[in-house]
């Protein structure tokens, strides 16, 4: 009798705990901020907490100063460090999200689909943010289901960086390694590479897989995902062809393992970098690396060009950051205004001038900054005029590339999509699967994730 009563009490206890648990397991998302007054002339006050914006260099601090001036009456508090999804989720779960977040643009779709961030259409209208100034590919990356969820800033684009001495020695032209002719690039990879007794001693061409598969696929005329972000297109024949070719670049030089191990052993950010030591012929790389090279090895024998589509003109796979306002932000009005000022043409001009002054003080050229804001870029570009060759050619290539960008459109399952894509490329690089099989598996995995993500988004509506 007593045992039965004990069992009943135990069961009741577990049930009570389960109910408590389900009661506590409440998400904290959901739309809010529908009736926020974003008028650009409205006086604001309160506190603005920002997550993900470190603000350490003059490009950041100058714009931050501008934003603070434009937000008189608001106390701006920026937590140090890059955006940390776990930290953000913890804050969201605790019901105290930051007022504003600074994230990579490729995270916007997933956060938006989950209702973690607000659509910014009203913010853009109210604060009169000139949407047309933003680079279309940047805007596409922060737009989901017809709404803009982020204010983009910065644009990272690839340009071809090559070692002029190695090119000349092997009789290779810069155009042979810019991607316009894949056969020529394959031949150049072999011609530029060198082996010693211990293995690879010079990497001829690094096609930078797996991260640049979208670039080579687009260069071959294929998009990895449909423009509306709903359909994965990883298994298309042009994508298979692009992966087959980009992976073969490594095969011809002794395999990806050898190239990767050699690449990993390099002093990437130091004076002993691959270009300065003559251990890399050419690779596509984001433009920020030009600054690194110019800083640590100004005398490196560099040559620069834009990456070209196969048989076509310049092309670049763009990425960058964005400002987004979390659902249940304590101060969405201030967050919107802050984002507007930080990405304004004037703030970028001020920041660029501060950078140019700092570089001039150190006797170094100003290599420009890609802001994600076309109007700002056009005004900043003339400030780079003082740079000498070969760095001037890097700057020219960078600005040209920025005119020909594409991006992976926002979607609700970007992390899964990218993981599926990278897994496929890694399986090919490791020799575990053929490009066709690997991409077919990735297609299935990516489409499942996209379907699930979009279905969740539809349910929320």
């Amino acid at each position: 009798m007593r045992a039965r009563a004990g069992r009943k009490a135990g069961a009741a206890g577990v049930l009570a705990l389960a109910l408590m648990a389900s009661g506590c397991a409440v998400g904290t998302g959901g739309a809010s901020g529908e009736h926020v007054d974003y008028s650009h002339d409205r006086a604001l006050h309160g506190e603005l907490s920002i997550m993900g914006f470190s603000g350490v260099d003059e490009i950041a601090t100058t714009r931050m100063d501008d934003a603070k001036k434009g937000l008189k009456g608001v106390t701006v508090k920026a937590a140090e460090g890059d955006f940390d999804l776990q930290q953000f989720l913890s804050a969201v779960a605790a019901g105290k999200p930051p007022s504003l977040i600074y994230v990579s643009r490729n995270q916007i779709g997933s956060l938006a689909a989950r209702g973690a961030i607000l659509p910014l259409d009203q913010c853009i209208d109210g604060e009169q943010i000139p949407k047309g100034d933003f680079i279309p590919s940047a805007l596409a990356q922060v737009s989901l289901d017809g709404h803009v969820y982020g204010i983009p800033e910065f644009d990272s684009v690839q340009i071809v960086m090559a070692n002029r001495t190695l090119l000349d020695k092997s009789g290779t032209k810069l155009s042979d390694v810019n991607g316009s002719d894949w056969d020529a690039m394959s031949k150049a990879a072999t011609a530029l590479s060198a082996h010693s007794g211990s293995g690879l001693s010079v990497i001829g061409v690094d096609s930078k897989l797996p991260e640049f598969l979208p670039l080579w696929a687009k260069a071959n005329g294929a998009d990895l995902i449909s423009a509306d972000g709903r359909k994965a297109q990883l298994d298309g024949p042009k994508v298979v062809e692009a992966l087959t070719w980009a992976a073969s670049i490594y095969k011809d030089q002794g395999g990806f393992g050898a190239v990767k191990a050699f690449r990993d052993s390099a002093d990437f950010f130091g004076a002993g970098n691959q270009f300065a030591t003559g251990t890399l012929g050419a690779m596509p790389m984001e433009q920020w690396y030009v600054n690194v090279l110019n800083d640590v090895s100004p005398d490196a024998p560099m040559a620069f060009d834009t990456v070209h589509a196969r048989g076509g003109g310049p092309i670049a796979f763009a990425s960058g950051s964005a400002w987004a306002i979390p659902a249940k932000s304590a101060n969405p009005e201030a967050a919107c205004r802050f984002a507007r000022i930080m990405t304004s043409t004037q703030a970028w001009m001020d920041a660029a001038q501060a950078r140019a002054d700092a570089r001039a003080k150190d006797g170094k050229p100003f290599t420009g900054v890609l802001t994600g804001n076309r109007a700002a870029d056009e005004k900043i570009k003339p400030m780079t005029a003082g740079a000498a060759a070969p760095w001037s050619s890097a700057i020219a290539a960078m600005y040209t590339a920025d005119q020909h960008t594409f991006s992976l459109p926002a979607n609700p399952a970007d992390a899964e999509f990218t993981a599926a894509m990278n897994d496929a490329v890694n399986a090919v690089l490791n020799g575990q699967k053929s490009p066709k099989d690997a991409l077919a598996a990735a297609q299935k995995q990516a489409q499942q994730a996209l379907d699930k993500g979009w279905a969740a988004l539809e349910r929320k509506k």
Partner: protein, 316 residues
């Protein structure tokens, strides 16, 4: 007992009961910080994750009950199988090597005499290195082209493998690197070795037992409880391995090349939870790991009844 005696005992009982109650209350009072901590930080999250494992939950939206869907997905997800296989292979390689290395070092240290303290400190220092740093160090030391390990192997004419990029060598490399943190086990085994009575070893020597006979016939059985502890703890650590492999192959410095050969179960669990925000699925994965660890530990405990010698117990 006389009636008077019985009356005295009866009159004392309430007093004893009061005393007992007071002592229990005091005990619970002293235990309460731990009990509260256990309930809040262990029992509750455990129960909560069990509930979440039956839901679709991304932290941001409310969890929705989906029954056993997450558990069904565990069976059909090929990456679960891959990561489990990797984890089991790593553990199977790591535990024996870890125990042998720890025992060897402890035996050496036990003979180091006065210098034992210095060596003990020296051996323990690597344990102080953060696991993330060990992961990065792994990439440097085991680099197939310019790594120190292959450099040393080349002195003997052995062409070293591509430890960090060849899927066949990634796990053996990580196992070797795990020896970096063998110090904790060394300290435990050293303490056990120092507790072996000198006279037992002397008696064995008088009976003609050589070094190896004394080691495996006397010392190892006498330190078997400590060895068992090290084996159990190392196995659990192996099954939960995360830090070093994540830093080396999946962390910020290596985001573009996540090698499937290093995709351990907890890494995949972490990805599901914090990159893909599938908290419900990750909770189901956590429970599968819990059951697995529990099963392995039970097998070890059962086997230990035959192999581990506890002082005061008659059978081994």
């Amino acid at each position: 007992m006389t009636a008077a005696g019985a009356a005295v005992v009866a009159s004392r009982r309430p007093g004893r009961r009061r005393m007992h109650r007071r002592e229990s209350a005091a005990a619970f009072l002293f235990l309460s910080p731990w009990l509260i901590g256990f309930c809040v930080f262990t029992a509750w999250p455990l129960l909560y994750s069990a509930i979440l494992s039956f839901t679709d939950y991304d932290v941001i939206q409310d969890p929705s009950f989906i029954g056993g869907e997450n558990y069904a997905q565990l069976v059909s997800d090929p990456k679960v199988l891959t990561s489990l296989g990797n984890t089991l292979a790593y553990t199977a390689l790591m535990v024996p090597l870890h125990v042998i290395a720890a025992l060897g070092l402890a035996l050496l240290l036990s003979r180091a005499g006065r210098a034992a303290g210095v060596f003990r400190t020296a051996f323990f220092l690597p344990k102080m290195t953060p696991p993330v740093a060990v992961g990065v160090l792994f990439l440097l030391l085991f680099n197939g082209q310019k790594g120190v390990v292959n450099g040393v192997l080349s002195w003997f004419g052995i062409p070293g493998p591509a430890w960090t990029t060849d899927p066949a060598w990634v796990k053996p490399g990580l196992v070797l690197m795990s020896l970096w943190s063998v110090a904790a086990s060394v300290v435990i085994l050293l303490a056990a070795l120092q507790a072996v009575p000198r006279e037992v070893l002397d008696a064995a020597a008088v009976d003609g037992a050589g070094f190896w006979r004394r080691t495996f016939g006397v010392v190892v059985p006498m330190i078997s409880p400590a060895l068992f502890f090290v084996i159990v703890v190392s196995t659990i650590a192996g099954l939960q391995t995360f830090d070093e492999a994540y830093a080396a192959f999946f962390g910020a410095g290596n985001t573009t090349y996540g090698n499937d050969a290093a995709l351990f179960y907890v890494i995949y669990l972490f990805q599901q939870a914090f990159q893909f925000l599938h908290m419900g699925y990750a909770s189901a994965m956590a429970w599968l790991l819990f059951v697995l660890i529990m099963a392995v530990t039970i097998v070890q405990v059962v086997l230990s009844r035959r192999l581990v010698h506890y002082e005061g117990r008659e059978s081994w």
